[in-house]
């Protein structure tokens, strides 16, 4: 797509024209070099709550979420099976991660492109990036130079390993981070390979930590602390998320490679039982049940209708139940196997027992009454994709709310607004830059 013609087409859509923002971060402008899922998600929160986030993209190196095959009607297709020449404006993954942001393209290999980036930085109070260490420096955007452009800027650098240390240049993405930080190794059945994670959990969590880092720095700057450089390593965030197992290794010297660890769905601390995932009716459908202490056990037994096996002395105390979990789980499976996960959940929850159907994305999106009541998902229109659903914010604030003004930007959609209105370039200058592939 030619950017000059895109510019001409898009100015006519008043619904997508940027205006004043609302929310706690109103008045904050972010020059945003973040890309991929992890980077886009980190700055999405800033855009949701009122910051003017200007995403800078490279036409020659399309952001991966623009290329991933998340298309309506695409059918069964792994995310690795990209189309040969994907339409950059059709990707649903990009749309979800980049709502509420402005989108411009900039050729950072061209001196004029870098000069425009510097002008954007000088009108911004936050600069974000998640490239491999050294990329921003290659473009001259060292921490000291950025601070010359804008003395009070928050320069947030998000990476896998952090910007110092012997592995700073190592490549990573979510699953690699999960492996290295130990999160994969603490997940699985005893005496088997780890089951780890079925998702890039650390892309999500590293994004959340990075959002928090920028917010904390904004809070501090509002108190006169000035700007700062921020270095967040996803691996270090992942290690914080390991929890008490880390200290068990460090203080007690207990290896997490021991044969009885990890213990699958069972819970060792505290030693609770039953604690597991049980089969229900349907193919590959399950229900999770967790019973803590004697009072919950009594309620659980009542909910099951006082079966004879529950009177067995082997199940009389929590320790006894913990010690005889194999038998206990077999009895419970007999009960769960004859009902749906949701039926089991309803019966058990009504009796005051912790239980949930193992829900799928379909359940969450289509039938979960709590998600529906809370309005967690929402819809926005998109000029190429059409109406699309978005993941919302899982908290509600009494005095402010997300400002969901627009779906994700088309490639280069806001060059007119950003370079024209914000930087003061004329229409012909922008057209000329686009024709010379600076934009």
């Amino acid at each position: 797509m030619n950017s000059a013609s895109a510019l001409g087409d898009l100015r006519s859509d008043p619904d997508r024209t940027p205006g004043p923002r609302s929310g706690p971060l109103q008045g904050i402008t972010v020059t945003d070099f973040c890309w991929m899922g992890v980077g886009s998600l980190a700055t999405r929160l800033l855009a949701d709550f009122g910051a003017r986030v200007i995403r800078i993209e490279d036409r020659k190196r399309l952001d991966m979420p623009r290329r991933l095959p998340f298309y309506k009607g695409a059918g069964l297709r792994s995310y690795g099976e990209e189309l040969v020449d994907p339409d950059p404006n059709l990707g649903g993954c990009f749309n979800n991660y980049n709502r509420n942001k402005l989108g411009v393209t900039l050729n950072m290999s061209a001196p004029e492109g870098r000069a425009l980036a510097e002008r954007l930085i000088s009108i911004s109070s936050v600069l974000t990036e998640n490239f491999a260490p050294g990329v921003m420096e290659k473009w001259g955007l060292t921490e000291s130079h950025v601070r010359e452009l804008r003395p009070d800027i928050i320069y947030a650098r998000m990476s896998g390993f952090g910007h110092s240390g012997p592995y700073a240049d190592y490549r990573s993405w979510g699953p690699v981070v999960q492996a290295i930080c130990g999160l994969s190794g603490i997940s699985g059945l005893p005496e088997r390979e780890p089951s780890g994670w079925g998702l890039s959990y650390m892309d999500n969590q590293a994004a959340y930590y990075n959002s928090v880092g920028v917010l904390a720095a904004i809070f501090a700057r509002n108190r006169g602390a000035g700007g700062c450089d921020l270095d967040v390593s996803a691996i270090e965030a992942g290690i914080e998320l390991l929890g008490p197992a880390l200290l068990d290794a460090g203080v007690n010297g207990r290896s997490t490679r021991r044969p009885d660890f990890p213990s699958g769905n069972r819970l060792d601390h505290p030693a609770a039982a039953p604690h597991g995932v049980y089969p229900s009716t349907g193919i590959d459908r399950w229900v999770a049940i967790a019973v803590f202490g004697d009072a919950e056990w009594t309620r659980f037994v009542a909910a099951l209708g006082h079966p004879d096996w529950a009177e067995d002395p082997e199940f009389a105390t929590e320790q006894a139940r913990f010690d005889h979990q194999d038998r206990l789980d077999a009895y419970i499976s007999e009960w769960t196997r004859t009902r749906t996960g949701h039926e089991a959940m309803e019966t058990l929850q009504a009796a005051g027992v912790r239980a949930a159907a193992v829900q799928t994305a379909e359940d969450i999106n289509e039938t979960d009454p709590q998600i529906a009541f809370r309005g967690t998902f929402f819809e926005l229109d998109h000029p190429v994709i059409g109406e699309a659903r978005f993941e919302g914010v899982p908290f509600q604030a009494s005095t402010f709310e997300p400002d969901n003004w627009r779906s994700g930007p088309l490639l280069g959609e806001d060059v007119g607004y950003v370079f024209g209105e914000l930087l003061g370039l004329s229409e012909s200058e922008i057209k000329d830059l686009a024709e010379r592939e600076v934009l």
Partner: protein, 409 residues
């Protein structure tokens, strides 16, 4: 907001962002305790209110040398370093002057009490907000404070199950149920969003002077942390299937976990469509004399590579069995391949990279000696790392905190 509050005072160079921010914590699960920990790690003064028997994490373990004792629980230590502990009967919270006086001075109340427990204790967040208009209440509950499931019970496993995250995790063999990823991650996910909400409310208060109630739902937090599963439903409307230690996807994919010569594992996914890593991989195998036919010209074609992916995977399995996981990790990374070693928790303490970044920090736990904790993952150029206080003994600061409150009144 009056600058009279320490949280409104200007920061001096080197101070942590939340210096002067006063937090009262009513938390009995890892979600609320993790939020309090993170706030303390960034400089807040966190007063943890514990019932006279102590928080549940004091009973949970694991314990130092496996000796069960409320002051030896590593679960407690992990989540509660840098906080002060006040023992207070929760039944007295709504009636007692002490709680009110603490809230008068507080910037943030962190609560992860269940709605049923809040009702039983007579704690009404709306009334609290009215009485303390500058107070930020951050409530973390299993499902949120409102809605048809608000009073349901949960746990980490149950929360992950309900959210759609658990079904994505486990093994290729679907006779095995989905397996909970370790380390309290439903709770931690709620804590991350609660932290976002807390700082947004602090920033909003700087603008307007008003506090806020932040109502965090663990269910929604985990349901928004399924990465691609929701997007597979939004767009092609297909469900993902769990696969051993790699992405759940609508279709089966090749294994990503490779066992090495020392019995340890590495994680490696080859992106076939990208020619650069492909060439790097073939050169690596060739350098070991193990590339066999992969150097043939046919493999320059993506479709050919895709058609022969199973063969490539077999060669990789053999190749990785000839080297240790550590060597595979570093040699692969030296060739710019995104390879990760599957570390055990104990390996991290020996990691050279983390050591050079001075990631682990010794904190002296009185009576036990130095304990190595992860340092806060937010490294700010303006902030000098201050040493954090050890985990408090149960009620260690009751007199210090409540005595002062009584004096003030």
């Amino acid at each position: 907001m009056g600058v009279s509050r320490p949280s409104g005072a200007p920061l001096t160079p080197g101070q942590a962002p939340y210096t002067g921010v006063r937090v009262v914590e009513l938390a009995d699960d890892p979600a609320g305790e993790m939020l309090g920990l993170q706030l303390a790690n960034l400089g807040a003064d966190v007063v943890k209110l514990e019932p006279p028997g102590g928080s549940s994490s004091r009973q949970a373990g694991p314990f130092v040398d496996d000796v069960a004792d409320p002051d030896r629980s590593l679960a407690y230590w992990y989540y509660n370093i840098g906080k002060r502990s006040v023992a207070l009967d929760y039944a007295e919270l709504s009636a007692g002057a002490a709680f009110e006086a603490l809230l008068d001075d507080a910037d943030i109340l962190v609560s992860s009490l269940h709605p049923l427990q809040l009702a039983e204790l007579g704690i009404d967040f709306d009334a609290l907000a009215h009485a303390h208009p500058e107070l930020i209440v951050v409530s973390i509950t299993p499902f949120g404070l409102t809605g048809p499931w608000a009073t349901r019970l949960s746990s980490d496993l149950v929360g992950l199950a309900a959210s759609g995250l658990l079904v994505m995790c486990g093994y290729d063999d679907h006779a095995i149920p989905p397996i909970r990823p370790g380390g309290n991650q439903a709770f931690h996910t709620a804590a991350s969003f609660a932290h976002q909400g807390a700082v947004l409310a602090l920033i909003e208060r700087q603008r307007t002077g008003r506090g806020a109630l932040i109502d965090v739902s663990m269910h929604e937090a985990a349901a928004m942390t399924v990465e691609l599963a929701n997007m597979y439903w939004f767009y092609p409307r297909v469900l993902v299937q769990r696969q051993t230690c790699r992405h759940a996807q609508p279709v089966p994919t090749q294994p990503a976990l490779f066992e090495c010569a020392d019995g340890r594992y590495i994680y490696f996914v080859l992106i076939l469509a990208d020619p650069k890593p492909w060439r790097a991989l073939v050169e690596w195998l060739d350098s070991a004399g193990m590339a066999t036919d992969l150097t043939d010209d046919g493999y320059n074609d993506l479709e050919f590579r895709q058609a022969n992916f199973a063969h490539v995977q077999e060669l990789l399995e053999v190749f990785f069995l000839t080297r240790t996981a550590d060597a595979a990790f570093h040699d692969g990374q030296a060739r710019s391949l995104p390879i990760g070693i599957l570390n055990a928790a104990e390996d991290l303490y020996q990691d050279e990279h983390l050591a050079q970044r001075e990631f682990f920090e010794n904190i002296d736990q009185p009576g036990f000696g130095d304990v190595r904790y992860p340092s806060p993952p937010w490294r700010m150029s303006t902030r000098r790392g201050g040493s954090r206080a050890p985990a408090p003994k149960l009620g260690e600061h009751t007199e210090q905190v409540l005595g002062k409150v009584a004096d003030v009144r």
